[in-house]
C-alpha cells in the first residue's frame, strides 16, 4: 500500500503540487487524535491526488470567473468608452445600490422568489404525496407529472407567450380582451405561473425522496396513537422530512432568485418586470458596461450566498439526531 501511494506522491512533489495534499493530513494529526500511521498518511495523500484534477477544473471554471467579476466590478469599464477604464473602488456599488431600477428589479425578483417557491412547495408536496401513494399506473403518473420539467425553459416560455398573445393565444381572452403581457401585474403573474408550472415537478421529485425516508411504521404508530390523516402529516411526516424539505427549498430558492429565461421571453423586462439577472444582462451584454454589470452580478452572487448560508444554518438545527435514527 505505502509503496503504491508513495510513488505518485513523489511524482507530485516533483511537479510542485505535492505540498497541498500533505497539509490536511498533518492538520488532522495535530487535532488531538492519534497521529496517523505512515500507511494512513500515504492513503490520504493518494486521496487528495485523486481529487486534485476535479478541484483544478473547479478552480478554473468557477473561482477564476468569480474573481474576475469582482475585479471588474471595482473598475469603471464601459466597452463603449474603453479609454476611460480605471480603478474606482466601490463606486460602482454605490451607483447600483442607490439606483431605483436596481431596487425595483430586486423587489420583483424577491416577490417572484417568495411566491413561486411557496406555491411550488405546497403543490410539489401534494404531487409528491400523490406519486408516493399511487398504486395503479405509478409509472404513468410520475412521467406525466415530470413532463413540464423535461421541456426546455425557453421553449416552454414561448408557448406561454403565444398562449397569452391576443388574437392567436387560447388564453389571451380569459380575462376580458386586454393584452395581459403588457401590464405589470398580469405579466408578473404570468411569469410566476410559468415558473411554477415548470419547476413544481422538480420540487415534487425532491420531496418524494424525502417521503421515502418516513418509515411506514411511524405512520402506523401515529394512526394507532389516535392521529388523524392531517395530524400524521403535520406531526410525523413533516418533521421527519424536514431535511429533505430544506434541501428542496434551498435549491428552488437559489434557482428562483436567478430567474431569467421566462422574463426574457415573456416580457423582455418591459413594464418594470425585470429581475436582477435581467438587469445585469442588460447592463453587461447589451449595454456593454462591464463595470456596472459585474457589480450587479457580484451582488446577485452575494444575495444567493446569503440565502444559502441561512438555509445551511437551518440544516444544522433541523431534527437533531435525525441522521442517527435514519441510519438505523
Amino acid at each position: 500500500m505505502s509503496v503504491d501511494a508513495s510513488a505518485p506522491g513523489a511524482r507530485a512533489a516533483a511537479d510542485g503540487t505535492g505540498r497541498r495534499p500533505e497539509v490536511p493530513a498533518q492538520r488532522a494529526g495535530r487535532r488531538g487524535r492519534a497521529p496517523l500511521s505512515e500507511n494512513k498518511k500515504a492513503e490520504r495523500r493518494l486521496g487528495w491526488l485523486l481529487c486534485a484534477p476535479a478541484a483544478l477544473v473547479m478552480v478554473l471554471v468557477t473561482a477564476y470567473p468569480i474573481g474576475y467579476s469582482v475585479w471588474l466590478s471595482l473598475q469603471r469599464f464601459d466597452l463603449r468608452f474603453p479609454d476611460q477604464r480605471e480603478f474606482v473602488g466601490l463606486e460602482n456599488y454605490v451607483t447600483v445600490l442607490t439606483n431605483e431600477f436596481w431596487w425595483t428589479a430586486f423587489g420583483v425578483t424577491a416577490l417572484i422568489t417568495v411566491v413561486t417557491v411557496a406555491v411550488e412547495l405546497v403543490l410539489g408536496m401534494g404531487l409528491a404525496l400523490i406519486m408516493h401513494r399511487t398504486l395503479v399506473g405509478r409509472g404513468i403518473v410520475r412521467t406525466a407529472a415530470l413532463i413540464p420539467y423535461g421541456i426546455v425553459t425557453v421553449v416552454a416560455a414561448f408557448s406561454w407567450r403565444y398562449a397569452w398573445t391576443p388574437g392567436t393565444g387560447y388564453l389571451a381572452n380569459l380575462f376580458g380582451d386586454g393584452a395581459p403581457l403588457t401590464e405589470r401585474a398580469s405579466s408578473l403573474a404570468i411569469v410566476m405561473l410559468a415558473e411554477i408550472w415548470k419547476t413544481t415537478p422538480f420540487m415534487a421529485l425532491l420531496l418524494m425522496a424525502g417521503l421515502a425516508l418516513v418509515p411506514e411504521d411511524l405512520l402506523k404508530a401515529a394512526s394507532t396513537d389516535g392521529a388523524t390523516g392531517w395530524q400524521r402529516f403535520t406531526k410525523v411526516m413533516l418533521p421527519v422530512m424536514k431535511p429533505a424539505i430544506l434541501v428542496a427549498l434551498l435549491f428552488r430558492t437559489l434557482d428562483a432568485f436567478r430567474v431569467f429565461d421566462n422574463i426574457f421571453v415573456l416580457t423582455a423586462g418591459g413594464n418594470e418586470t425585470s429581475s436582477v439577472s435581467m438587469l445585469a444582462y442588460n447592463n453587461l451584454i447589451r449595454g456593454l458596461n462591464l463595470g456596472i454589470g459585474s457589480t450587479m452580478s457580484v451582488l446577485i452572487f452575494l444575495t444567493v450566498a446569503v440565502i444559502a448560508f441561512v438555509f445551511v444554518k437551518l440544516f444544522g438545527t433541523a431534527a437533531p439526531g435525525s441522521d442517527d435514527s435514519e441510519r438505523r
Partner: protein, 401 residues
C-alpha cells in the same frame, strides 16, 4: 379493557393472494394471547387487521362486543408496539409518550402525571428529555412500551416487540412484558416467530401456518398434545425427533426398533384407506440413558442401541445426538419447518436429538443403549399431518387402547 373476537376473519390482497383465511378466535378480557408461526404465516396481517392498519376482506372483528371492521385505527382505542419501535425521532421520550394523550386532548397536568407514572414503571424517568437517537435498543423498546401503556387502551397489540434486541436483553424484557401485562390486566395480542417467547409469555398460544390457525391452546397443551405434525415440530427446542415408521404386522418398523401399537390406533390403521407409512415423533426429553432407568420405568418404554455422534453437556443435562439408520421422515410440514429454520431438518440420514440425565456417562464415538418412553410418543399421518395418537384432544402414546 375489552375482549376481542375474530369471527371468520380473512384477508385477500388485490392480487388474489390469501394472507389469512377464516380465523376464528375469541380473546377474553385481560388475556395474553400469542400469535406465532413462521414468516409469511399471516400472523402480522392478522394483528394489523385487529389494529385497523389493514382492511378486513371477510368476516367480522369485534372489540368489546362492538363491530369495528370499518373503524379507523384511531377509533379502536388500541395501542400498538412495533418491532422497529416506531418512535418519533423529532420528539423527546417525554413527547413521544405524551403524543397519544395530546392527541386525545387531555389537559397538560394529566398528561404530565400519566407520563411520569409510566416512566416510573418502566424506569425511564432519567431519560425523559432525551431523543430516541440517543437511546439504546432496550431503552427505545421501553419507550415504545411506555407510549402504549400511558393511554390505558382497550388492548395492546405487539408486533415482534423484542426481535430487535440481543438475546440476553430479550430474555430480560420478556419478564418485563409479562409482569407489566399481569399488572395492568390489559388484553394483549402478541405476535412473534420465536416459539420460546410464545411458550413463556402467553396464557394461550395461536399457531398459524399459511394463513390458517393450526391449534389454539395454553403453551403446555400445545407442547404435550400437538394436533398435527406442524405444531409438534414448531413447538419445542430442540424440536421433536421425527422418524419414518412403516406399519407391518400390527407393529411399527422404525429406526429405533419395532414399536408396538395399542388397540385404538391399530383399529384406525386397519381401515382400507389408512396410511401404511407413518411418522413417529419423540421429544428429546423422553429418551434416557438405559443404564439410568429403573425396571419399573423400563417396562413402559423400549430400548435401542445407536452410535453417539455428539455430546453437548449443558450442566443440568446432556444433549446427545445419535445417528440412526433408516429412511428420513418426509412430509410437507416438515419441509416447511426446515425451510423456516433455514436448515435441513435432520441433516443427512436420520439423526436423533436426545436429552439425557447429566449423570449419564455417555461419550462421543461409542455405541450406547438408549431407552425411550412409549407413553409419550406421537404418530402422524404424513399426508394430512394429523396426530393419530390424539384422542379427545389428549395424546396418550402409541399403546393407548
Amino acid at each position: 379493557m375489552a375482549d376481542i373476537v375474530l369471527d371468520k376473519v380473512g384477508k385477500r390482497f388485490p392480487d388474489g393472494t390469501v394472507a389469512v383465511r377464516d380465523v376464528d378466535l375469541e380473546i377474553a378480557d385481560g388475556e395474553f394471547v400469542i400469535l406465532v408461526g413462521p414468516s409469511g404465516c399471516g400472523k402480522s396481517t392478522t394483528l394489523n387487521m385487529i389494529a385497523g392498519l389493514e382492511d378486513i376482506s371477510s368476516g367480522e372483528l369485534r372489540i368489546g362486543g362492538q363491530r369495528v371492521n370499518d373503524k379507523a385505527p384511531r377509533d379502536r382505542d388500541i395501542a400498538m408496539v412495533f418491532q422497529s419501535y416506531a418512535l418519533y425521532p423529532n420528539m423527546t421520550v417525554r413527547e413521544n409518550m405524551a403524543f397519544p394523550l395530546r392527541l386525545a386532548k387531555l389537559d397538560k397536568e394529566t398528561i404530565n402525571s400519566k407520563v411520569e407514572e409510566a416512566a416510573k414503571v418502566l424506569e425511564l424517568t432519567p431519560l425523559l428529555d432525551r431523543r430516541p437517537a440517543n437511546l439504546s435498543g432496550g431503552q427505545r423498546q421501553r419507550v415504545a412500551m411506555g407510549r402504549a401503556i400511558v393511554r390505558q387502551p382497550k388492548a395492546f397489540l405487539m408486533d415482534e416487540p423484542l426481535s430487535n434486541l440481543d438475546a440476553k436483553l430479550r430474555v430480560q424484557m420478556r419478564t418485563v412484558v409479562s409482569r407489566l401485562q399481569k399488572q395492568l390486566g390489559t388484553t394483549t395480542v402478541y405476535v412473534t416467530h420465536d416459539q420460546t417467547e410464545a411458550m413463556t409469555l402467553g396464557d394461550r398460544v395461536v399457531i398459524m401456518r399459511g394463513g390458517a390457525v393450526q391449534q389454539v391452546g395454553p403453551p403446555q397443551e400445545l407442547y404435550d398434545h400437538p394436533r398435527n405434525l406442524f405444531v409438534a415440530g414448531f413447538i419445542g427446542s430442540p424440536s421433536m425427533n421425527f422418524l419414518h415408521a412403516a406399519v407391518q404386522d400390527g407393529k411399527l418398523r422404525t429406526a429405533v426398533g419395532d414399536v408396538p401399537i395399542g388397540d385404538r390406533i391399530r383399529r384406525g390403521l386397519e381401515a382400507g384407506d389408512a396410511p401404511r407409512e407413518l411418522i413417529l415423533g419423540i421429544r428429546p426429553e423422553h429418551f434416557e440413558d438405559a443404564e439410568l432407568v429403573d425396571d419399573d420405568t423400563r417396562r413402559r418404554g423400549l430400548e435401542f442401541e445407536a452410535p453417539v455422534d455428539i455430546v453437548e453437556s449443558m450442566g443440568s443435562d446432556k444433549y446427545v445426538y445419535f445417528t440412526v439408520e433408516g429412511e428420513r421422515a418426509s412430509a410437507a410440514e416438515l419441509e416447511e419447518l426446515a425451510a423456516d429454520a433455514g436448515a435441513d431438518f435432520s441433516g443427512g440420514g436420520a439423526g436423533l436429538v436426545t436429552r439425557l440425565s447429566a449423570e449419564s456417562a455417555v461419550r462421543e464415538g461409542e455405541s450406547r443403549r438408549v431407552w425411550f418412553n412409549l407413553e409419550k410418543i406421537h404418530l402422524f399421518d404424513p399426508s394430512t399431518g394429523r396426530n393419530l395418537t390424539l384422542h379427545e384432544g389428549r395424546s396418550s402414546g402409541a399403546l393407548a387402547d
